[in-house]
Every structure is written in structure tokens, then in C-alpha cells.
């Protein structure tokens, strides 16, 4: 019976709020991202030189960095939520949490490294 022992909680208002907030930020950033990447650049995609040029602007760097972060947070929290719908065992949730944090950290470091690397190629 569920009533006797309440299982450990794995989701709360803070996580939900972060997901929502990240989602909202992505919405705003995406509009800028779209405008810059698809409407300003002819043909829809940038050439290598254009990309490097584009990343010289520090504002763009910050924006793309924020975009990377919010998308990562939103996507990983969202995937975690879908995983929780499958009623995984506490053990699997333990691995899931660490796996997602690890993947998120790696992707973040990789993304930031990419940003810096590309901007330094100019």
C-alpha cells in the first residue's frame, strides 16, 4: 500500500519552474537565433567565414551560450520527465540523474569550448 511509506520525491516545483523558465527563455532566444541564422544569411545557412565572423561579436557569444544552456536544461529535464512517466525503479532514477548531469556537463563544456574555439579562429 502506498499510504504507509511515501516514496522519495523526484520532481518538485523548482524543477518544474526551471523547465518552464528555460522553455520561456528558449522561446525568446530562438526568435533571435532564427532571425540571425535564417533571415539575415542568404540561402539559409552561413559559410564558414560567416560563422567565424558572426562569432566575433561578444553579444552573439553570450546569446549562443545562453541558448546552449537553456536548451540543455530544458531538454534534459524534459527527457527526465518522460523517463519518470515510465515509472523507473529508484535505482534506475539514480543512474538516470547522474547520467543526465554527466551528459549535460559534457555537452555544456563541449559547446562552450566550441564557441570559444570558433570565435578564436577569426
Amino acid at each position: 500500500m502506498q499510504s504507509s511509506i511515501s516514496p522519495k520525491n523526484h520532481e518538485n516545483a523548482l524543477l518544474w519552474f526551471i523547465k518552464l523558465l528555460a522553455g520561456g527563455l528558449i522561446f525568446g532566444l530562438l526568435v533571435v537565433h532564427f532571425i540571425v541564422n535564417h533571415l539575415i544569411a542568404p540561402g539559409g545557412l552561413l559559410t564558414f567565414n560567416d560563422v567565424v565572423q558572426y562569432f566575433q561579436n561578444p553579444f552573439v557569444l553570450i546569446m549562443e551560450g545562453c541558448f546552449l544552456t537553456t536548451v540543455l536544461v530544458h531538454a534534459l529535464l524534459g527527457l527526465r520527465s518522460i523517463a519518470l512517466d515510465l515509472n523507473p525503479s529508484p535505482k534506475i532514477i539514480w543512474y538516470l540523474n547522474r547520467g543526465l548531469v554527466l551528459f549535460g556537463s559534457l555537452a555544456f563544456v563541449y559547446g562552450i569550448w566550441l564557441l570559444i574555439k570558433v570565435s578564436s579562429m577569426g
Binding site: 518538485n12 516545483a13 523548482l14 515510465l86 515509472n87
Partner: protein, 247 residues
């Protein structure tokens, strides 16, 4: 008055308690299109096959016992006229509710469901004002009179919920709506923390199927969203309110 009779085929998955899978059985029924799906099922039991099991009691949508899936949609069969779900010479699939263990034929095991609702301490009787949804107006002369609460605990919402399909631990729409109802009626023993959990209000993914199938104006989806709002308010107070009240 001319009595119209339709001839319809009713397909029911038959399953004994110890069997793992069900076998479809077809019944040919002659029935007036104004009679209900429950009437048809009862007719099968009375005249064709006395071994058919199904739950029913009040036959007018106040007890919630006769919830079934009719052509894949959750219906309270006592208020579902035949003409709404099929046509003359048509076929009707009548199945037990999803997301509950089947005991036999159309009977499902609701013990867990009732245990979870009871934990929420919902009122069984409330004033018209407390029982109505927030947006529903209530006439002054009847606002403080009482009525049996809307939820008839039929389980249709749980059967329709996509999250309940996969997550056995999810409290489900009926329990969460019961908690919201308990809070609305200011029941002391109602704990909002039960919803602040991965098995609670955060597990809902807004498919609003519960509200779509609810036969009794409970709108569980609306009530779950209201719980979320309350949880957000409570947490915002704790995060930013400084002296946020601790429960």
C-alpha cells in the same frame, strides 16, 4: 408511439480471474436505440449469458460503478444511449477500463484507486459553492446549501489518462482532483504536499483526457492545474517571500 428496435453486435473481451488474456465474444442484441449501453450489457447477462460479470448499481450516474470503454472511449454506460455510440446493425466494443487490473470480464479492481482517494480526505458532501469549480457562478440562495460532491469515483479519468498507462505510481486525476476538492473545502487533514511529488501534480502532462471523459463535471484537469498553481504560489512564497509560512 412506435417502438424502434435496433439489432447490434456487442463485442466483449471475456476473461476469468485466473486467465492472463481475454478472448473476444460477440453477442447479438435487439435493443431500442434509446436504451443505454448498460441496458444492453444487462440484457446480455439476463437473457444470453449469466456468467458475464460487470459492475453497476444506480443506473443514473450517481454511483460511478458502470464505467467501461465503449469503442475505445471511456463512458459511464448507464447514461450512454445506444444511438450515440453505434447505428442499426452496428458493432459495439465494450471493454473494461484501462489502467486497472481486470478481475474478470468487465470488472476491474479499484482497491488502489479508493485507497489513494481516501488519503486525500476529500469531503463527500460540500456546499454548492465549495463544490463548484472556481469559474462557475452559484446563485446566492443555494450557495451555502449542501450537495454530494461531483466526483462519483468511476475511474474513467484514470482509464483515459496517458500517463496512467505507463506509471503505476501516479496518483492519477481522480485522487488529485479529490485533494484539490479537499483544499477547496478547507479540510484540515488535506495535505497539499501529497501533490508536490513526482507521483503527484508534476506527473500530469496536460493531455486533459480526464476532463474530456469525466461524466460528472469534475474537470480533473482543471483541478490539477489549480493544484499546480497553489504549489507554485506556496513555493514562490518560500523562495522569495522571506517569512514564507512553513506548513
Amino acid at each position: 408511439m412506435i417502438e424502434i428496435t435496433w439489432k447490434i453486435t456487442i463485442r466483449i473481451p471475456r476473461q476469468r480471474q485466473d486467465e492472463i488474456s481475454a478472448e473476444w465474444q460477440d453477442f447479438s442484441v435487439e435493443i431500442s436505440p434509446d436504451e443505454t449501453v448498460l441496458d444492453a450489457v444487462e440484457k446480455i447477462w439476463a437473457f444470453q449469458d449469466h456468467t458475464l460479470t460487470f459492475r453497476h448499481a444506480c443506473h443514473h450516474s450517481t454511483c460511478g460503478a458502470c464505467g467501461m470503454r465503449v469503442n475505445g472511449v471511456e463512458k459511464l454506460t448507464c447514461i450512454t444511449p445506444i444511438r450515440e455510440v453505434t447505428r442499426n446493425n452496428g458493432t459495439l466494443r465494450v471493454e473494461p477500463l484501462r489502467n486497472f487490473p481486470v478481475v474478470s470480464d468487465l470488472v476491474v479492481d479499484l482497491s488502489r484507486f479508493f485507497e489513494d482517494i481516501e488519503r486525500m480526505h476529500p469531503p463527500q458532501v460540500a456546499t454548492n459553492r465549495q463544490d463548484n469549480l472556481l469559474y462557475e457562478p452559484v446563485a446566492d440562495e443555494s450557495a451555502n446549501l449542501e450537495r454530494l460532491v461531483d466526483c462519483i469515483e468511476c475511474g474513467l479519468c484514470v482509464s483515459a489518462c496517458p500517463v496512467a498507462l505507463t506509471d503505476n505510481e501516479y496518483l492519477g486525476p481522480a485522487s488529485l482532483a479529490a485533494l484539490q476538492q479537499a483544499l477547496a473545502a478547507s479540510i484540515d487533514t488535506a495535505e497539499i504536499d501529497l501533490a508536490d511529488h513526482h507521483t503527484g501534480a508534476w506527473r500530469c502532462h496536460s493531455a486533459f483526457e480526464c476532463s474530456a471523459v469525466c461524466p460528472s463535471n469534475v474537470e480533473p484537469g482543471y483541478r490539477i492545474m489549480d493544484l499546480r498553481k497553489q504549489l507554485m504560489q506556496k513555493n514562490f512564497k518560500q523562495w522569495f517571500g522571506g517569512k514564507g509560512k512553513r506548513a
